[in-house]
């Protein structure tokens, strides 16, 4: 039995050693990643100047066209992330500020995501390779329920979120395989989709009275003299519970309601996402209203 206990002890130590080595290798590769996604690019960036930075979920990613801002002389990038919540938007802004980015305006899409107080696991997992290399990321995740495992157990985060930061992603990062996340200045255009779902029911959705991540974004902007433009973006015609936007306005009066800026379903790819055509109309309106362009 003693021999067996020593044998299993060796296997246990071997497992920990392998976890530490793999953790080191994966982290080192992600530390050099620049052309795969928005998070890696921001994390590994140096000081940059922007007139406009766009943050939010897919409803930011698919709705604001940076090229139209660029054409008007405003250096812009869309850092909206599909499936992202305000938790990730706030962290992105924190990282930009830490890297001494000079940002004049931040446009944040704050509407349906105000009802969500927790992180988006698939998107937030992309910050995790850097958790030991950034106090900002560590502190941002500090209150998350599995923080201790993610922080202290070597390689745990890569196993837990293997579809996002596992071997496949590491391999593609290593061979510098590009994605389309950084094309069009971060904007992802959608086409009109004949089979797109043109119904939505948000009756049960309520904005959190104090969305922590949104409040953080406000505080960061205030502390760094960044002009914050918070907007609600359009939904399709057939939506139940449209009074949600009134509730948002009541809780957060500073958020601009553009829910009606585009109404016709022909400008939508699905109920929550405008097509490229819709995005053009919407972006033009934003440029006119906030930048006089």
């Amino acid at each position: 039995m003693k021999r067996f206990l020593i044998y299993t002890g060796k296997i246990f130590l071997l497992t920990i050693l392998i976890a530490i080595v793999l953790d080191g290798i994966y982290t080192a590769i992600f530390m050099r990643s620049k052309d795969r996604g928005k998070i890696e690019t921001v994390f590994n960036s140096k000081a940059e100047n922007y007139d406009v930075i766009i943050l939010g979920s897919s409803r930011a990613n698919n709705h604001f066209i940076p090229q139209m801002f660029q054409d008007k002389g405003l250096k812009t990038f869309n850092y909206g992330m599909s499936a992202g919540h305000l938790f990730e938007a706030s962290l992105m802004l924190k990282l930009m500020v830490e890297r001494k980015w000079k940002i004049k305006n931040v446009i944040v899409e704050a509407d349906l995501n105000l009802a969500i107080g927790h992180r988006s696991e698939p998107i937030s997992s992309k910050f995790l390779p850097y958790i030991h290399n950034s106090d900002i990321i560590r502190d941002h995740f500090q209150d998350e329920k599995n923080f201790n495992e993610m922080y202290y157990l070597p390689f745990y985060r890569y196993i837990k979120y293997d579809s996002k930061i596992g071997f496949r992603e590491v391999f593609f990062t290593l061979i510098h395989k590009k994605t389309n996340a950084l094309e069009n200045f971060g904007f992802y255009p959608l086409q009109k989709n004949k089979n797109g779902n043109m119904k939505n029911n948000i009756v049960n959705l309520n904005p959190l009275p104090h969305n922590k991540s949104y409040e953080e974004i406000k505080d960061i902007c205030k502390a760094n003299n960044i002009n914050l433009i918070a907007v609600m973006t359009p939904l399709c015609e057939n939506v139940k519970g449209m009074d949600y936007f009134d509730k948002v306005k009541k809780a957060y009066p500073e958020i601009h309601n553009y829910e009606n800026a585009v109404t016709d379903d022909k400008y939508f790819s699905s109920c929550g996402h405008m097509s490229d055509e819709g995005a053009k109309i919407f972006t033009a309106r934003i440029l006119k209203d906030f930048f006089n362009k």
Binding site: M1, F4, L14, T15, K160, D162, F167
Partner: protein, 477 residues
């Protein structure tokens, strides 16, 4: 509680410690601990079905004794058929009732008679097909006087409910396991070490091979109408490795865990994809089920004795019943039927036991013939797997038809976000490892054991699929 879960990683060392350090005084204390651990393990799935398991155990225990004690043939027959009917009755109600009711209703409707089936809203108790077959083999063996009835209820309960084999086999025989639980087990370092290696290799098969293949196989089978020939062929190959890695991985973990407690379980897989014909495949795939059907169905039906038609009839019966055992769906029945068709030429030409020797390759033409036979057997097995995996028989036929009619063999992007060929290298490496170790139970033990273990653990961590978590396929059967 899955074998590849954190809960099991905590459960197993606790039971191991108690077994060898606290309850190791006698075989009775060892057995009592394993029974408690097994019932706890089973109740983690659904505690309500624990009653069914205990009832089934008690029924077979009691009827076994009554059969042995029976003074007249009539009394023996009564207890024998009572056990058979109740066991199959449970299986029928929980697993097959809804299938028969809806199939009968469909039949009436197609004949113009309006009927709507009365369906039962029940879930399938996990492992019912496995522990029912344990009990059946025990009672049948007593009835035919091959074994003596077990009078110690704890020992018998352990034979039926032993947690490593409880939910997905292997299907044990009383002649093999009961004698082992009747004696006190002593710790053997070499056996326990083999057990650890087998557990880790089982995890490689499950987490690295089966679950990775599952992502691609699902991507193909769920969208097969829009995919090209190459994607569909690869989808079938990925599923072949998914189900092999999943089930043989489970069996390896079960056998390995059991070795830690000093109990040897029946081998369930013997590198089936290296078979040279379908008869050999069935001697290497899910061996405990195949041999169960051979001993308790095929031979009682007359086996290969009797006339030609008798042989053919019996062959079709065991393959179709074997398919039906897997699940209440026509796809499984057709899968069994196809395997019977594959088997038929071998049976008719009396060559179904041609390939019982070990596979040896040299640089000669005979080796080319052997490799071709292995490839051909794998191809026809994959065709049958299409029926096993498809939702309906129509889907399976359309899937196969599309392979032929699309005639496009280009690389293709699959949902979610991956190319159809990406796993081929990993499968190739896995096949090579298995081939080089086909004479052993698993490839990790032996020389340079720690290095091989390190590579296996590294593979589990780096290449394993964890976030897209998959249950073991055979739990549903």
């Amino acid at each position: 509680m899955f074998f590849n879960s954190i809960a099991f990683a905590i459960f197993l060392p606790i039971v191991f410690f108690l077994y060898w350090f606290v309850f190791n005084k006698t075989k009775s204390t060892q057995n009592a601990l394993l029974i408690v651990a097994s019932y706890y393990f089973y109740s983690c799935w659904d505690w309500r079905f624990l009653f069914l398991l205990v009832f089934s155990t008690f029924l077979d225990y009691y009827t076994g004794i009554q059969i042995e004690k029976g003074k007249s043939e009539r009394s023996r027959k009564f207890w024998f058929w009572l056990s058979i009917m109740v066991n199959l009755g449970f299986l029928g109600i929980f697993k097959y009732y809804n299938f028969f009711a809806s199939s009968f209703s469909d039949l009436l409707n197609s004949a113009g008679i309006k009927a709507s089936p009365i369906l039962l809203n029940v879930i399938l108790p996990v492992g019912i097909s496995f522990y029912t077959f344990h009990g059946l083999s025990y009672v049948i063996d007593i009835y035919y006087k091959r074994i003596k009835a077990e009078y110690n209820f704890v020992d018998y309960s352990l034979f039926v409910s032993y947690f490593p084999l409880l939910v997905a086999g292997p299907i044990e025989r009383a002649t093999h396991l009961l004698p082992q639980v009747k004696v006190k087990r002593e710790f053997d370092f070499q056996i326990a070490k083999e057990g650890v290696c087998q557990i880790i290799w089982g995890l490689v098969k499950k987490v690295v091979i089966a679950d990775s293949c599952a992502v691609y196989a699902n991507a193909v089978f769920d969208h097969y109408t829009s995919l090209n020939s190459l994607s569909l062929i690869l989808g079938a190959v990925y599923f072949a490795f998914q189900i092999y890695g999943d089930f043989s991985g489970y069996s390896d973990i079960a056998l390995g865990v059991s070795k830690l407690f000093g109990l040897d379980l029946l081998r369930n897989f013997n590198y089936p994809y290296f078979s040279r014909d379908i008869a050999e495949f069935w001697r290497r795939w899910h061996i405990s089920l195949s041999s169960w059907f051979r001993d308790y169905l095929y031979i009682p039906l007359g086996g290969s004795k009797g006339g030609l038609w008798m042989k053919i009839r019996n062959t079709f019966i065991i393959f179709v019943v074997s398919g039906f055992w897997h699940g209440a769906n026509w796809t499984y029945i057709v899968w069994g039927f196809i395997n019977a068709i594959y088997f038929l030429p071998l049976l008719l030409s009396n060559s179904n036991r041609n390939n019982i020797d070990e596979i040896k390759l040299k640089w000669d033409f005979d080796s080319i013939r052997v490799i071709s036979s292995i490839l051909l057997t794998f191809i026809i097995t994959c065709i049958a797997w299409v029926f096993f995996r498809s939702k309906t028989i129509t889907d399976a036929f359309l899937y196969l038809k599309q392979i032929i009619t699309k005639r496009d063999f280009g690389f293709q992007y699959l949902e979610p976000d991956r190319y159809n060929y990406e796993l081929l290298l990993m499968i190739g490496v896995f096949v090579l490892i298995e081939w080089n170790n086909r004479h052993k139970t698993e490839p990790l033990s032996g020389k340079r054991n720690l290095l091989k273990l390190a590579l296996a653990i590294g593979a589990i961590m780096a290449f394993g699929t964890f976030s897209d978590y998959k249950e073991f396929i055979y739990f549903q059967f």
